[in-house]
Amino acid sequence: MTAATASSAPTWTSMTRSRLVVELKEFLRSREQMVFIFFFPMMLLLLFGSVFGGQEIADGVSFAQYFLPGMVASGILNTGFQSLAMSIAIDRDEDVLKRVHATPLPATSFFAAKVAQVLIVSVVQIAALVAIGVAMYDASLPSGSGWWTFTWVFLLGTAASTTLGIAMSSLLRNAKAGSAIITPIVLFLQFTSGVFLVYTQIPTFLQHVAAVFPLKWLAQGMRSVFLPESFEAAEASGSWQHPATAIVLTLWVIAGLVLAVRTFRWTRHDDN
């Protein structure tokens, strides 16, 4: 018991790095996370792509091509919001968070590692989705300014999803019931935000409802990256609405951050 290992004082960076390794292992080794969060958008892309793929929804844009940015957006929501909300709620229920809090790991390291894990998983997921889109559905990679748009839409979308996911975890008082609460929310957003259905084809009042939430803007932003410029005219507003996208997503990031910080707790709700 007394044998010491050669070591130096841990730094914020070294602790965050070792926590990130833990988070990645937890994600990669969880069958639920890998199937329902990581592979699900790819399975849906292949399924919808093969069923409706050939239908043209606008000049030179097939449904499969329209579906790709929707799945990219939806993947960001799954990995940030759904996966984090569920995993943090379960970790709280199982006293995993309490154990984390009992160690010298700074809270900022803990959250930085969570965010880094979401970013890494999302990037790999999006790369796989785009590879499928390019290989099977004639999707084209963004060019030039498209990458810049992709980067800021991706980062704002991930930031909004992650902060809202952390906030949501506090609302799930019973983690086991979590997916029963989260899945309908995510499904509703996917159907109304231009992911499963073409946004302009759903009733206007549902479009207005969806426009309150981040997914609609995230999906539209990704369409501006992956669809030809000519499709801009086919959007509901006739525009990609980049400034509005940036504003709405930023507001959600702020709302998510405030909610997450105000509601987060390391211990169970019945544990005080």
Partner: protein
Amino acid sequence: MLARLDPMSEPAIRIEGLHKHYGDLHAVDGLDLEIPHGEVFALLGPNGAGKSTTVEILEGFRKRTAGEVTVLGVDPHHAGKGWRGRLGIMLQGTSEHGALTARESLHYAASLYSDPRDVDATLEAVGLAEKAGAKPATLSGGQRRRLDVALAVIGRPELVFLDEPTTGFDPEARRQFWTLIESLREDGTTILLTTHYLDEADHLADRIGIIAAGRMVALDTPVGLRSRAADARVSWVEGGTARTVETATPSALLRELLARTDGEVEGLEVVHPSLEDVYLQLIDDASRGHAETEEAVA
């Protein structure tokens, strides 16, 4: 011990007038306690007595209603991560959740402390060397508790909290755990453990605090506690009726009993009180709300 940050005059744990109320329930109701550095202290009491509430206040997980608390010279409610680095905490209860193997968990935990113990040596010490590659779901309840112990001590803490550490252990695992605690004590580690097992407290602790209804009803060394119940219990059968007398002078009672009985005394038994008897008596007294109950049980 000499390199520790605290002046030695400051105890590892100091509690003065601690109260924790949940509405009308006074879970902790005026507790005072000092635990010096290097002591192994056992907190005993029935379920709901306030043991875990007290420990969780000391660990900085719960707010207190009133009173002063310092742990390693710091108020746990306002303590930072530097303070956490000097503590080892084993929570009550364990979890099957988690995708890391025992060794991976310990490697990760070790990376958070500046002078951690060796991972393999610690696995060995808690008897999990052969299960190093197993995940929590494939460990037994007792093995998960041993992993929790390992995680609590991996950072070479000055002070370790062990909340019902050996619940679910088989006798051999419990003995092995005791050896581990003794080796921690030799390193000068201060240990506060809660337990339901009197033999464990008796074996390990320098001092035992017995807590009932949120109050300390006894605070003594194991030897001191045992000596509290001076009365031996003499029982026999006389005229077809079982009789039991508690007396400080059992020999005198026996002389008198033998003098008036021909031949064998039926069912004769002289029992000296165990720590358990003392404990049960103290808990019983506390629940009746008075300190002296010295009646013979017929």
